[in-house]
Every structure is written in structure tokens, then in C-alpha cells.
């Protein structure tokens, strides 16, 4: 085995960033093994049956039936010990950030997180508010990586076939010091901008707090997440976890739909990795247009209601 990709279970389906991690791994090496852990392990393995992989390992021990950091870290450690992969890869999700440093410490393998590209043992990361790219290499032959959202595209997954193999792990309760309860969704934690495929983002051009519900209507119609630029959050119209930019989140959805955002560099560094950018702004000279794929010069307060209406009509027909 050259590369081990650790998968993330998203309520029985495969996390988008896990698929991206496999796509990235396929560009880096020949022999790729995926690892599915938990109650949905075989379900996840099935979903990968059409992908070109050496195999999918499944671990379905009761102590890791749902996610816990201690258990996951120990499982990954045992697999590294048994299979000696050269690269261990995962998507840079919240979960990865939780357990992967533990794997790194347990196995004494360097962990290079949030990588945007990789080639021949050198790995590129964004540093200093995404102002610079840093190329990092590891002092050891074995390295753990996590890929930033959208660093690779799951559309590039190489099709093929693979079989799955159950892997027996030795876990006891002494190794797993925490107990996982039923997952629940807190209002705030509900928003996962980093893995959203479609984001509607609003800026100062929304003018008034009273105009915000309209944007939520549009988001519902499109199935999008909502984010905002700084002035909207500063005004208290939107929660701070929705802020995108250098002092907020970094996002890279398939479509970033910006409404009334001027495109100050502090905002742009948080979303410039988006696949497609569609922007509406009254000011034809707004800097956001320089990085937009589709630019609409116009008043969003006129456009949004019409857009919602059009979406409704299409839905009904």
C-alpha cells in the first residue's frame, strides 16, 4: 500500500471532501487503499465500488461505531502499523482536525494540514492570510496530509473497481476515553460553510436588516448555505460564524453567489478558491467582478425577488 485515505462518514454517505481526498490521492500514487470506519463502513465501501482503488478496508468495531477521536486515532494507528502506507490522507474537515493530530503524535509521523496541492514530496499551503503559498516538505518518508476543501475535484475521480476487506482492530475501553452520544445539531453548528457546494453570500449592498429574510428565501429555493461579508456581521444582521474572509471562514464551494459584496481583499482571500463565482453589484467597478466568472451589474433588491419567483415557477411547472 502506498497511500491510505481515511474516509469520513456523513450520515451514511461519503463526505464530499473524502471523495476529493481520493481524487487527490489518485494523482499522487498508484496503490490506494481507503479506510471506512464505523456503523456505515460497508455502506461507504459500496459507494466506492466503481472507483479505481486497490481496496477498501472496513472497520466496524462497536467502540468506533460512531465517531470518537480516541477510537479513530487508534484504528488509524493500527492500520498504519499493519500496512505501512507512505502517505495518509484525509479531507481537512473538523473531524480530521480533531483526531489526526493524535495519530501524528501516536505514530510520530509529521502531519501537514490544509494542503492545497502536492507533488513529489512537496506540499503547498496558504499562509499569512492566504497572501502567500508556502511549500513544505517533511523530514520523514511517511507523511500525513489533509487536503483543503476543493483542492481536488471529485469530478476527477478515476473510475475502476475495488473490493472491500474487513479489518480487525484491537480496541478496548481503556483506549477510548470518551463516550459518544447521539449526534445533535445546534443552531449555530448547523452551518458547515466549508463543505457547502453552493453558498449565497451577502454584503453591504443588502442595505437593511429587513432585506435579509429575502436572501434566506432565495437560499431555500436553491438549497444553498448563507454567508456574509464583514459589514453585515458587524451590523449584527448575521451571526459571526457566517462571516467569510480573513477574519472568518475560508470557503471553496462549487458556486459562490455574491450579492452586494464589493470584494475587498480581506473578503476575497476567504472565497477565491470557489469553482465558480457569480456576483451581483450595483457598482460596475466593484473589485469582486475582477474575480467573478459571471457578473451582473444591477440592484440586488430588484433581482432577488424576481429570481425567487422564477425558481418557484420552474419548481411548479
Amino acid at each position: 500500500m502506498d497511500i491510505l485515505v481515511v474516509l469520513e462518514d456523513n450520515h451514511g454517505s461519503l463526505h464530499r471532501m473524502s471523495r476529493e481526498a481520493i481524487a487527490g490521492a489518485q494523482q499522487l500514487g498508484e496503490s490506494i487503499t481507503a479506510l471506512a470506519i464505523g456503523q456505515h463502513a460497508s455502506l461507504l465501501a459500496d459507494k466506492l465500488s466503481g472507483v479505481d482503488l486497490a481496496e477498501v478496508l472496513t472497520v466496524s468495531h462497536e467502540l468506533v461505531s460512531s465517531y470518537n477521536a480516541d477510537g479513530y486515532a487508534e484504528v488509524v494507528r493500527q492500520i498504519i502499523e499493519a500496512e505501512s502506507p507512505q502517505l495518509i490522507i484525509a479531507g481537512h474537515t473538523y473531524q480530521t482536525r480533531d483526531y489526526m493530530p493524535r495519530v501524528s503524535a501516536k505514530c510520530d509521523i509529521p502531519f501537514i494540514p490544509d494542503v492545497i496541492s502536492a507533488e513529489d514530496g512537496s506540499y503547498v499551503k496558504l499562509v499569512l492570510n492566504s497572501k502567500l503559498n508556502a511549500t513544505v516538505s517533511a523530514s520523514s518518508d511517511t507523511v500525513i496530509l489533509s487536503f483543503q476543501s476543493a483542492a481536488y475535484s471529485d469530478e476527477d475521480l478515476v473510475p475502476g473497481s475495488c473490493a472491500s476487506r474487513p479489518f480487525e482492530v484491537n480496541l478496548d475501553t481503556a483506549m477510548v476515553r470518551s463516550e459518544t452520544e447521539e449526534p445533535f445539531q445546534e443552531d449555530a453548528g448547523d452551518v458547515d460553510l466549508e463543505s457547502a457546494e453552493l453558498i449565497i453570500s451577502i454584503g453591504r449592498g443588502i442595505e437593511k436588516e429587513e432585506n435579509i429574510p429575502m436572501v434566506f428565501d432565495l437560499a431555500n429555493a436553491l438549497g444553498a448555505e448563507i454567508s456574509a461579508s464583514r459589514p453585515v456581521v458587524d451590523s449584527g444582521w448575521m451571526e459571526s460564524f457566517r462571516q467569510v474572509g480573513s477574519s472568518g471562514q475560508t470557503v471553496a464551494p462549487k458556486l459562490y453567489f455574491s450579492l452586494g459584496i464589493s470584494g475587498a481583499i480581506q473578503h476575497v482571500v476567504g472565497m477565491k478558491g470557489s469553482k465558480n463565482i457569480l456576483s451581483i453589484n450595483k457598482d460596475p467597478d466593484a473589485p469582486i467582478f475582477e474575480i467573478s466568472d459571471y457578473a451582473v451589474v444591477g440592484d440586488l433588491l430588484e433581482i432577488i425577488p424576481k429570481l425567487i419567483e422564477a425558481l418557484q415557477t420552474e419548481k411548479n411547472s
Binding site: S247, A264, Q266
Partner: protein, 546 residues
């Protein structure tokens, strides 16, 4: 009652700038020589030494040579020796060389340097000599025992924007010391309180300030001569605003371009950042920047008042050094050597005070005596009336400076002392004029404030009480809007202050996380209702080479 950690030191410097670092190093050595031992600590609000250090800078190596007798100029972390020097008067599109460079503007034998690099270098020496530097901790309160200062309290961490404690709340520590040395730099927040409480400016001229705004430009290889120095007057400020531009060649093809603007202008609409952008529209400057890319931005105020604006330097248990005490030669545009020297002179007094275990005002007053018999006085006395002359415009100022050269510093040739008036009092009501109608930010050479701030790499913990305290916010929307047109939006070089619509009216929004810690608002606000206090430790710009 919050339980605070207490730390006992012998000597505490506040602010790891050149004054404190040089003072601490000198003190350590004096103590070794006299067989004493003492714990010396330095508090620094920035995340690391140098991250809040900004200066031109051309350094006179005099103090460094005195501090490091065993080193040569080549050992100091300078960019280059001044190799070529120009002084120009700029019209809108031409540059006219001055017929000669006056001795006070002659930088022969001085060095182009980055203050950030210099302070980092000094801090390494401190570490090697067992001087503790506590980075990421701001001094927020002076601790008194009756009328004697016995320590400094550092800021609490983990207070949210409503003033409530967050889960990671960590109360500030009380650091006790026999002597607290304030080297906070320009318009220090503890210094301000100390000066006020002990009336240290009594009988002095008001301090007057300027604001320096600068950018670093990375140029194509082989295009920048390191050690090149040019200064200019005239465009874009004209004759009514004190100040001028500088262009210095650094190592690795980096231009260091800046503009100093006196904070005693009349038009409340003056915006130093915008003046600086205008400077870059001048054909000569533009030709220098052709093909380059901006890599850093910063701004810092500087005390320009000179000799007569230096406060009383000691009180029971505390002393003032460096920019906190106004040690800057406005005519030579230099203060680093004076700051270092003041720290070193303070160290000499401290060494004696420790030996005698006497920390009274009278004992510590020995520092002021030493200063008055040192070259600091020789240098500052000669230019003691320099800035005051510019109250009469550029040509008045130059005439006064010229006569001063011939009369060892007399004002207009006969007056021993010209007075000054605080800059914020000179702003004229109802006079706000837009000087920037034609200024277009092209994103290549000219940048709006928000873009420049990005290049200052500034960040603050967002969930905290804004560290710009506006004591009577009603004044902003009533009196100030009417009388001065809210000059905070203009004088702040970091877009911290913004008047935003609020229903029918306006309200002041404080974008505190943009703050580059230049202190201009605290200085220039016409009603003096803004109090700049340190944000949670570690916040602020992360300058590398400014």
C-alpha cells in the same frame, strides 16, 4: 474578587522598542560590572518583538556603538550605509533639488534600516543575557502604593464584546517591580495616564505629533540601490501642512516609501493615507515604483515637539524613556538613537538606585540630570524651535530652521523658546474640505485604506470590547458631525472609524480590528474623547520589516 497571578521582578520595562531593549541590555551589564544581580523583564503587547515596530528609518549608529563597544557597524542589522542622498522640493509634476543639503539633513555616516529588524536583533541579545521578554502581554494599569508606582497590571484575556467572561477567561497578572520604566513608544497609554496624574508636562510646550504612513515595495531584481536616500517637501501636502516624503533603498530591491504628515493641520478633511496615495501620483515617485508590487503597509505617530515638549522624566518608582518621553529630533527625522540613549541613561540611574535601594522621585531624577549632560541635550537643544516655525507654513518653517542653524537653535534668530499649541486645537471648525476628489485607487499603485490594511497583516481577537474607547459617543453624531464633519474618518489611516447610516441618523461604527496602533485618534480627536487602550495582548499588526 478575581484572583490574579503575581510576579515579582526588580525592573520592568514596558514596551520592547529600541529604548527598553537598549536600556535593559545596558542595565544588565552595569549590574554585572558592579557585582549586583536583578531580575529584568520587558512587557510587549505584540505577538513578537518587532511586530509593532515601525520607523523610517535612517539610523544614527551613535547609541549602538556606545552600547556594543566590541562590535563594528557591519555587525548591526542595517540594510545599507547611506550611499546617495537627495533633498527635493516637489511641484505637482516636477522635482527641484535643493541647492545644498543643510547639515541637519545630511545623513552621511548613517544607515538605512528597518526598526523591526533592529528590535528583533536586540531582543535576541536580551534573551542571551537572561532578560525576560513577555510578548503578547500589554500593560493596562499602573499599580500604586500611595503615590509610588510598584508595578503594572497586564490586560485580561477572554472577555467578550459585552464584557462577560468567556470560557477561556484568564485574568491579567500583576507584575511588581522596584522601578517601572515606560518605553511604550509614541503616545503610550500608561504614559498618558502617568503624565496626566503627575502633571509631568507642567511648564512644557504641548507635545505636537506627526503621522508617518509607509509602504514597502518589492521591485524587480537589480532596480533598487540599497542605501539610496531621498527626502522631499511640497507636493502633495503643499505649504500649509507640515511634513514630507521619504524614499529609502533597502536590501533585496525593496523600496521603503513613506510620508510624514504633521498632526497640526487646519482642514479636518486631511487624510494622511490619501495624501500618501497622492504622493504616488507624482511622476518621479511613479517612475521609481514602475513594475513593483506593494508588500507591506503601516502607520505610526511620532512626537515632533522636541526639547521643550519633553516631560519630567521620573516619579516615585517610574521613569519615561524613548518616544514615550518625546526623544525625537524632528529636524533630523531621527529618534532611534535618542531612544536607545535615553534607555541607557535610565539604566545608569537604575543601577545606582538598586545599589542604594532608593527608588524615590529624587533619586530617579538623576536620570534627567544625566540626560541634560549627555549628547541628547546637545542635539535637541540645537533644534529646539524647529517644529514651532512651521506654524507659519513651509517657508516660515524653513526660514526659522535656517536661522536656527546659525544661532544654535534660537527661534527666528533671537527667541530662546517658541511655544507650541496642541495639534488637535488647530483644526478649524466648519472648514472640512475634500482634498481627494481626483484620487482614484487603481489597485496597482494606489490603494484604498482597506487594501492597505490587508498589507499590514493586522488582526485582533474579534470578540472583545473595542479598545478604542469613545467616552461621549453622542458628541460624534451631534457636535462633531456639525463642527468638524467627523475627522476621525479621515485622520485614521486604518479605517477604524466609520459613520454609518442608522435609520434616519448616523452612528459611529468602530472597526477596531483594523487598528494598526498608530495612536493618531487619541492625539488628533478635537474633543479628546477617544482613549486608546491596549486590546487583548497579541492583537495588532504583524509587521516584519517596517
Amino acid at each position: 474578587m478575581i484572583e490574579r497571578e503575581a510576579l515579582e521582578l526588580d525592573i520592568l520595562f514596558v514596551g520592547a522598542g529600541p529604548a527598553s531593549l537598549a536600556g535593559a541590555i545596558h542595565l544588565k551589564r552595569l549590574l554585572q560590572e558592579s557585582g549586583q544581580n536583578a531580575n529584568i523583564g520587558i512587557l510587549e503587547k505584540a505577538v513578537e518583538v518587532g511586530a509593532h515596530s515601525l520607523s523610517g528609518a535612517i539610523v544614527d549608529p551613535r547609541a549602538l556603538r556606545e552600547l556594543f563597544l566590541d562590535k563594528n557597524d557591519q555587525d548591526f542589522p542595517f540594510e545599507a550605509e547611506v550611499s546617495e542622498e537627495h533633498l527635493y522640493y516637489l511641484t505637482d509634476n516636477k522635482k527641484i533639488p535643493f541647492p545644498f543639503i543643510p547639515p541637519s539633513m545630511n545623513h552621511h555616516g548613517c544607515f538605512v534600516a528597518s526598526l523591526g529588524k533592529l528590535t528583533r536583533w536586540l531582543s535576541e541579545i536580551c534573551e542571551n543575557e537572561d532578560i525576560d521578554i513577555f510578548c503578547g502581554f500589554a500593560g493596562t494599569e499602573l499599580i500604586y502604593d500611595e503615590d509610588r508606582i510598584i508595578g503594572v497590571r497586564t490586560g485580561d484575556r477572554g472577555i467578550d464584546k459585552n464584557g462577560a467572561q468567556k470560557p477561556q477567561f484568564e485574568p491579567g497578572a500583576d507584575i511588581y517591580a522596584k522601578i517601572v520604566v515606560l518605553g511604550e513608544g509614541t503616545r503610550g497609554s500608561l504614559t498618558k495616564k502617568l503624565i496626566h496624574k503627575h502633571n509631568l508636562m507642567d511648564g512644557r510646550n504641548s507635545q505636537v505629533w506627526a503621522l508617518g504612513v509607509k509602504e514597502l515595495w518589492q521591485m524587480p531584481a537589480g532596480t533598487v540601490q540599497s542605501g539610496y536616500v531621498a527626502h522631499s517637501m511640497g507636493f502633495p501636502l503643499g505649504h500649509d501642512i507640515f511634513g514630507g516624503a521619504f524614499l529609502y533603498g533597502m536590501k533585496n530591491d525593496i523600496w521603503n516609501l513613506g510620508l510624514v504628515v504633521g498632526l497640526d493641520y487646519k482642514n479636518p478633511g486631511v487624510d494622511s493615507h490619501h495624501e500618501f496615495q497622492n504622493l504616488k501620483t507624482h511622476p518621479w515617485i511613479r517612475s521609481k515604483l514602475e513594475g513593483g508590487k506593494v508588500i507591506a503597509y503601516g502607520a505610526k505617530s511620532l512626537p515632533e515637539g522636541g526639547w521643550y515638549s519633553i516631560p519630567k522624566l521620573s516619579v516615585n518608582g517610574a521613569m519615561l524613556i524613548g518616544d514615550s518621553a518625546g526623544f525625537l529630533n524632528g529636524q533630523r527625522l531621527k529618534g532611534i538613537h535618542l531612544a536607545m540613549k535615553s534607555g541607557m541613561l535610565a539604566a545608569e540611574t537604575i543601577s545606582i538606585a538598586l545599589a542604594e535601594n532608593n527608588f524615590t522621585e529624587i533619586k530617579l531624577g538623576d536620570y534627567e540630570d544625566r540626560m541634560k549632560s549627555s549628547w541628547i541635550k546637545d542635539e535637541l537643544l540645537k533644534v529646539r524651535n524647529f517644529h514651532q516655525g512651521f506654524d507659519h507654513g513651509l517657508f516660515g518653517g524653513l526660514t526659522n530652521a535656517g536661522i536656527g542653524l546659525l544661532t544654535a537653535g534660537r527661534g527666528w534668530g533671537f527667541k530662546d523658546r517658541l511655544t507650541s499649541e496642541a495639534g488637535h486645537l488647530q483644526m478649524e471648525k466648519g472648514l472640512k474640505k475634500d482634498r481627494y476628489k481626483d484620487l482614484q485607487f487603481d489597485g496597482t499603485y494606489l490603494f484604498d485604506k482597506v487594501t492597505d490594511i490587508y498589507h499590514s497583516a493586522t488582526s485582533h481577537e474579534e470578540d472583545q470590547i473595542p479598545h478604542l474607547h469613545v467616552n461621549e459617543p453622542d458628541i460624534c453624531i451631534t457636535k462633531c458631525a456639525e463642527e468638524y464633519g467627523n475627522p476621525c474618518e479621515n485622520f485614521c489611516p486604518a479605517d477604524v472609524y466609520e459613520m454609518v447610516p442608522d435609520g434616519e441618523n448616523q452612528r459611529l461604527q468602530i472597526n477596531f480590528s483594523n487598528c494598526v496602533h498608530c495612536k493618531t485618534c487619541d492625539i488628533m480627536d478635537p474633543y479628546q474623547i477617544i482613549d486608546w487602550v491596549p486590546p487583548e495582548g497579541g492583537g495588532g499588526p504583524t509587521w516584519i520589516n517596517l
